[in-house]
Amino acid sequence: MKKSVNARIVSNRRIAPDHFVMEVKSVWLSRNSSPGQFVAVRARENATDPLLRIPLGVHAIRKKGIRLLYKVVGSGTKLLMSKRKGERINILGPLGNGFDLTPVFREKDSRAVIVAGGHGIAPLYELARVVTRGKKKVDFFIGAGTKKHVVCSKELRKLGAKVHVATEDGSMGHKGYVTDLLKKHLKQVKRYGTRVQGYRSRATIYACGPRPMLAALAKNAKRSGVPAQVSLDAYMACGIGACLGCVVRTVDGYRRVCKDGPVFDAREIVWESA
């Protein structure tokens, strides 16, 4: 079940030059959301511009509400940035299917390898929290353009995740793409041994980020025989599966990112056309 709620903003603070975290109070969203699901927020009431809602991943689930992490990229997110504590905001959710955690929790020594590119980190923090709380190991890879855009690394370390950083300009961690850093690591992942869902791997990759990053990652994961779940981004209108606007090409034809996803098995996506 989904609902649209007028949630009160508890806080809305800058965590990096263009990144903000907004916490809203809503027991409904707290109780019903799971890692990898998203919500659709209305940036302005009684207005026709922006017309549509902004889809945002559930960044953290709190006792009485949720947190959203967003990057300011355009007119809608700019409006979000100026929202103040105490104001209300209309949120539709929770939407879509979250990550499947059964592969991580099924075997004794299985683990999660989480890969975030840019604002793709938003839905992955909550995932890392749930996995580490379940006493499973997390390797968390963060990719960003430059050091200033690396967010959440401290919080992730606090959870007990092993954090690996790659920046394109080399200002922090490995210099280059996060997928290249991951590729090296995958050799080690293979040594973790045995299987998850028919793979010879005890690790499962969870990733969210730009399409080209996910495409590269899917290729490496396949080659290394490691299962991967990816959370996709698409232009959305309704967010509830009604308009067929957000489709991605899969091996079974077009599927809706908002309702059949946003999380897909990387093997299902036809990456060349994505």
Binding site: L51, A237, A242, Y254
Partner: protein
């Protein structure tokens, strides 16, 4: 207050409907409103054979508008009959089924399959989707050609006594002429507008935004254009006109009715807010009350000029 209106022989509980392609098959909206309160649900256009639709990206927001190029993705009439229609018929709502096809033969076959079932409350024949090329005519869309429009409507008319609505494109020199052709073919009503053809450009990448390059524009951005089209048609046909285009509020409903619409359809507003319908209907009722109009139908064409 009397909200009921009539199209052909069918009485609808109220004149505010939901537009094809913007309401799925209704099911998706059940968490947000009681479908029984809707004047009529027009289903996503269905074609004889399944259609994959256009390559993504299929939608992009433009100032106060939405540009889409879904491309009539649907699973075909047989799937519709088996999986969708039985569920729809259980709803206590008037159901209007939208059909389309590349030419007369395909449209007639699609209607024929549909009519093997118990007929719906009405059929809306979509002669105007900007996202597929129709081959019935030398024009890109059937409803750009008055002769093809009349021919197709009249052959459908011979197939069924069920209320028949022709949905028209506004992308023509004289939309009233097309509406007259649909009327001559025997349509019980005409509905307009379908989306206006348009496109969006990403100057940074120097590329069109939509996978299909062109799409159809909907939403508040097109309302002034749609109001004019409805008024032009109302002034030149005798059959009821159903107004569509950028309706977001109860006042918008009233504006269309004043311009001559007997009923209206809400489209993009459903996508922006799945609960929009309920608010719009409530606002429209308040408008009627405030204006002391006791029959919704009495508003049609009352524009003072």
């Amino acid at each position: 207050m009397g909200l009921r209106i009539k199209i052909g022989k069918v009485t609808f509980p109220n004149p505010v409907w939901v537009a094809s392609g913007t309401f799925g098959s209704g099911e998706e909206f059940q968490d947000f409103l009681d479908l029984g309160t809707i004047g009529a649900v027009i289903t996503k256009t269905v074609t004889l054979k399944a259609r994959e639709g256009n390559p993504p990206p299929r939608i992009v927001e433009t100032p106060s508008g939405l540009l889409n190029s879904i491309g009539l993705e649907n699973k075909g009439i047989d799937h519709f009959r088996k999986e969708v229609y039985p569920v729809l018929r259980e709803l206590k709502t008037k159901i209007i089924i939208s059909i389309a096809g590349a030419d007369k033969k395909e449209i007639l076959k699609c209607a024929g399959r549909l009519l093997e079932e118990e007929p719906p409350d009405a059929i809306e024949v979509n002669l105007s989707c900007p996202n597929v090329t129709q081959k019935a005519t030398g024009y890109r869309l059937i409803s750009q050609d008055p002769r093809a429009t009349e021919r197709i409507v009249s052959s459908l008319r011979r197939e069924t006594t069920c209320a028949l609505i022709a949905k028209l494109t506004p992308d023509v020199t004289d939309v009233a002429a097309i509406a007259r052709a649909a009327e001559a073919g025997g349509a019980d009503a005409v509905s307009l507008v379908n989306t206006y053809p348009g496109m969006a450009v990403d100057a940074e990448d120097m590329k069109p935004v939509l996978g299909n390059v062109i799409g159809g524009l909907s939403g508040p951005a097109i309302k002034p254009l749609a109001l004019k089209a409805v008024r032009d048609v109302y002034n030149s046909v005798n059959v009821p006109v159903i107004g569509i285009g950028g309706i977001m509020t109860g006042t918008d409903v009233a504006e269309f009715m004043l311009c001559g619409a007997r009923a209206v359809q809400v489209g993009t507003a459903n996508l922006a807010d799945p609960g929009a319908y309920t608010r719009i209907l409530a606002e429209f009722k308040l408008y009627l009350k405030r204006k002391k109009i006791d029959k919704a139908g009495a508003l049609t064409g009352r524009l003072k000029t």
